[in-house]
């Protein structure tokens, strides 16, 4: 007869006494490095394409490569802190690139209307646009004090965005159990250590290839003595024997960004090609062939230097005709569609408003939790953030007056809180977050409060910067908390970590933007800044510019009609067909053909490789390499711009 079994006791585990690795120096440092690199890269990519890739998944992949692969000690929750930090830093780039270029676009608009610029362009036998593109540093001038105000507004937005959303965690994640698809996908990567390391390797290969490619293409611009030249675009129109205004062009500079973006989006991105065909192969050729161009503009287009003769002269005029039609007809229609689509997206989120208000009521009834940040710290942070936002508004336009700036700051902060919850619920349910729509509403609220003066517009844009950064931070915090919930992280640690690094992103993105503004004119290829153009269009409709000549006034009037036509189409398509169709097609009409065609090529490649090698191959190899293209090329482009500016500064220093 056997003895009765002794009660089971677990043997003591060697790790039982040790706390598991979570908030470690290595994890946070890696997150900061990855976050900063991605912010620099995605500021470039976002200005070029109108979207970026969420940092969470890329940093989670890299985290496995570095923490487990190189340091041999990473844990799931440590890698979760790494991705929380990286995403917290990178997410602000969206808020900055959607709104801040509005101010640069306004500066360019002023230059376009200036008699000096027009005279300089005539003297150089250039159109005004060509002259402006050649002199970005003389056109996009924003005072340093004002840049400080932008930085303060974006910092206030980053901190307020995190603090406003913290009380909603329990409600949205534990009680309502919102899906947050990206947060769940990141948790899946965090748990798949083996696949994570393989993806990390492919990501690094993609980054290295993109850096090499971009350097090869861009280095002759920095070192003119180098013997090779690679064009920025591959113009197939000439090779096919068709006029230059019928654009068939592939992007070379920034081409891997477009290709990678298309690959990551896959089949769904092919719909962009429909908008591009309508814009570039129907509308633009029709405008040129029917001569829908005002006489004075036609005269400027034909002002080609006398030295350019024969076929070259014809090609130059064809190019200018296409450029005029694209800039003044196709693009305003596309911007209008973006605007209408954004407004429709906000209308479609209206049911979320009821959810947001319900969520707030239930949070109040429930009280706090020991897992969350302390309420004292939270309210203190909110008060400090509000003060910084008010100071930013006042520094931006003191002529508006303390009382009105205070009113704008109060309204914007209240709207920011509500918008944050709406965007988080939308993200939680659908993975979409209508950031630029929220920025648009902020501008309309503040413009109504402050009036249509130049100061009023300035303060409105500053408040929109804060709201856009805040809503981005809020939805990212919630995605990260969902990921943390799934991998067993402590919410308070994640919240504190996000709060500690949230200020880094806006500064890095703003500095990158300022650097790029010295080399490129926003709103033009390669940095087209679509969302900022849509916001600028809304401002133009509400508060039209006053200082313009006859031609510009007539073009502005026509542009307004096109905005309205596009907005109507965007509203009907998005409200009727759903899914943000108006935004996508508007974006396709707005972006240059080189970007859309290369992007569509990426989408086609994704479809082909999935058919040939299967879905797993696409996820493990194709997508990480494509994400690497975005990170690597953006980073290399920004470094090249920095090197070029340093070269010019050294040359002028040597000359003086």
């Amino acid at each position: 007869m056997s003895e009765p079994a002794a009660p089971y006791r677990d043997p003591p585990s060697p790790d039982a006494a040790k706390p598991y690795r979570e908030v470690t120096f290595a994890g946070v440092l890696l997150g900061v490095i990855v976050g900063v690199v991605m912010t620099v890269s995605f500021t470039y990519a976002g200005l070029k394409l109108g979207f970026t890739v969420p940092a969470s998944m890329v940093s989670a992949m890299l985290g496995w490569g570095v923490l487990r692969g190189l340091l041999r000690k990473g844990s799931i929750v440590e890698n979760n802190i790494n991705q929380t930090v990286a995403a917290a830093i990178n997410v602000s780039s969206a808020g900055v690139i959607f709104t801040v270029p509005v101010l640069y676009l306004a500066a360019t608009e002023r230059a376009r209307a200036s008699a000096q610029v027009q005279a300089a362009a005539r003297a150089a036998h250039l159109t005004v646009e060509e002259w402006i593109r050649a002199h970005p540093d003389r056109v996009q001038t924003i005072p340093t004090s004002f840049l400080m105000a932008i930085a303060a507004a974006s910092l206030a937005g980053a901190v307020l965005g995190v603090l406003f959303i913290i009380p909603s965690r329990k409600q949205m994640i534990e009680l309502e159990r919102l899906v947050f698809p990206s947060g769940v996908a990141t948790a899946a990567i965090l748990k798949a250590s083996g696949a994570g390391q393989k993806r990390a390797r492919n990501l690094v290969y993609g980054i290295l290839f993109a850096i090499a490619f971009a350097t090869l293409q861009g280095l002759p611009g920095v070192m003119p003595t180098l013997p090779w030249r690679i064009p920025e675009d591959l113009d197939l129109s000439a090779a096919l024997g068709i006029p230059a205004w019928f654009a068939v062009t592939l992007a070379v500079a920034g081409g891997l960004t477009s290709l990678g973006g298309g690959y990551i989006t896959g089949r769904a991105g092919l719909v962009l090609m429909v908008g591009a065909v309508i814009g570039h192969w129907i509308v633009t050729p029709l405008v040129v062939s029917r001569g829908w161009i005002p006489a004075q503009a036609m005269a400027n287009i034909h002002n080609v230097p006398a030295t350019v003769v024969g076929a070259a002269r014809e090609a130059a005029i064809e190019g200018r005709l296409g450029s005029w039609a694209y800039r003044n007809v196709t693009r305003p229609l596309g911007v209008g569609m973006l605007l209408g689509g954004s407004i429709a997206s906000v209308i479609l989120t209206a049911p979320m408003l009821a959810s947001a208000l319900k969520s707030i009521r239930q949070q109040r009834a429930r009280g706090g939790s020991s897992q969350e940040l302390s309420p004292t710290l939270m309210w203190g942070g909110i008060a400090a953030g509000f003060v910084v936002l008010f100071v930013a508004g006042y520094l931006g336009a003191p002529e508006v007056g303390v009382g009105r700036v205070m009113l704008a700051a109060v309204l914007s902060t209240a709207w920011m809180w509500l918008a944050n919850i709406i965007v988080s619920i939308t993200t939680g349910k659908t993975d979409n977050s209508p950031l630029s729509g929220m920025a648009l509403i902020t501008i309309l609220i503040t413009l109504t409060t402050l009036g249509r003066s130049a100061g009023g517009i300035t303060v409105s844009v500053l408040m929109a910067v804060a709201v856009c950064v805040a809503t981005g931070q809020g939805s990212d915090m919630m995605q990260d908390l969902k990921t943390g919930h799934l991998v067993g992280a402590l919410p308070r640690r994640q919240q504190l970590t996000q709060l500690a690094v949230a200020w880094v992103g806006p500064l890095v993105s703003l500095l990158t933007l300022m650097l790029l503004a010295k080399k490129f004119v926003f709103g033009n290829d390669p940095l087209t800044a679509p969302q900022a153009q849509a916001i600028r269009a809304a401002i133009d409709i509400v508060a039209p510019p006053l200082d313009a000549d006859d031609l510009q006034r007539s073009i502005a009037a026509a542009t307004k009609v096109r905005y309205l036509v596009g907005a109507g189409a965007g509203l009907v398509m998005t409200l009727g067909a759903g899914g943000g169709l108006g935004v996508v097609l508007g974006l396709a009409m707005y972006l240059p053909m080189s970007v859309t065609l290369t992007y569509s090529l990426g989408c086609g490649l994704a479809v082909l490789t999935e058919k040939r090698f299967g879905r797993q191959w696409v996820e493990d190899v194709g997508v990480p390499i494509s994400a690497g293209f975005l990170v690597g090329e953006g980073l290399a482009q920004v470094v090249l711009v920095g090197a070029d500016l340093a070269r010019v500064a050294m040359a002028s220093g040597g000359a003086s």
């Binding site: 790790d15 969420p54 799931i76 189409a569 009907v572």
Partner: protein
């Protein structure tokens, strides 16, 4: 078939609307009117075909990203599966409980499960 016709009607409506809005001097002309009518017809057909919202964008935290809406049912199922698996074995549960030493199939594990201890501990969620 219905969906394809509806989608292309929508695109044709958009093209006509855009051409109508492109004229110089700008005017609200007949082409624009026809375009708007065709556009609305496309929307109505699309809704009748039950395909509204089937494709489009997601303006994600980082911008306007066209998203594969037609893949969403499969995505939601996959996500629900992941959530169920993850929530069944959360790390804080693991941290609070003594670690299960042996594999799931071992006699001790089976005995423990019968006695109701350590049922949620899983290797998969251990950091």
């Amino acid at each position: 078939m219905k969906r394809t016709v509806a989608t292309w009607t929508l695109y044709a409506g958009m093209a006509l609307t855009m051409v109508g809005g492109a004229g110089w001097p700008p005017s609200f002309n007949a082409v624009l009117l026809v375009g708007v009518v065709v556009l609305i017809a496309g929307v109505v057909l699309l809704r009748r075909a039950g395909a509204a919202g089937a494709e489009g964008d997601g303006e994600s935290a980082s911008g306007t990203i066209p998203a594969a809406r037609d893949k969403i049912p499969a995505l939601v199922t996959a996500i629900e599966g992941l959530i169920e698996r993850a929530e069944g074995a959360r790390l804080d549960d693991v941290a609070r409980r003594p670690r299960a030493r042996s594999a799931r199939t071992s006699t001790r594990s089976r005995r423990r499960r019968r006695s109701g201890r350590g049922a949620t501990a899983s290797r998969a969620t251990r950091p």
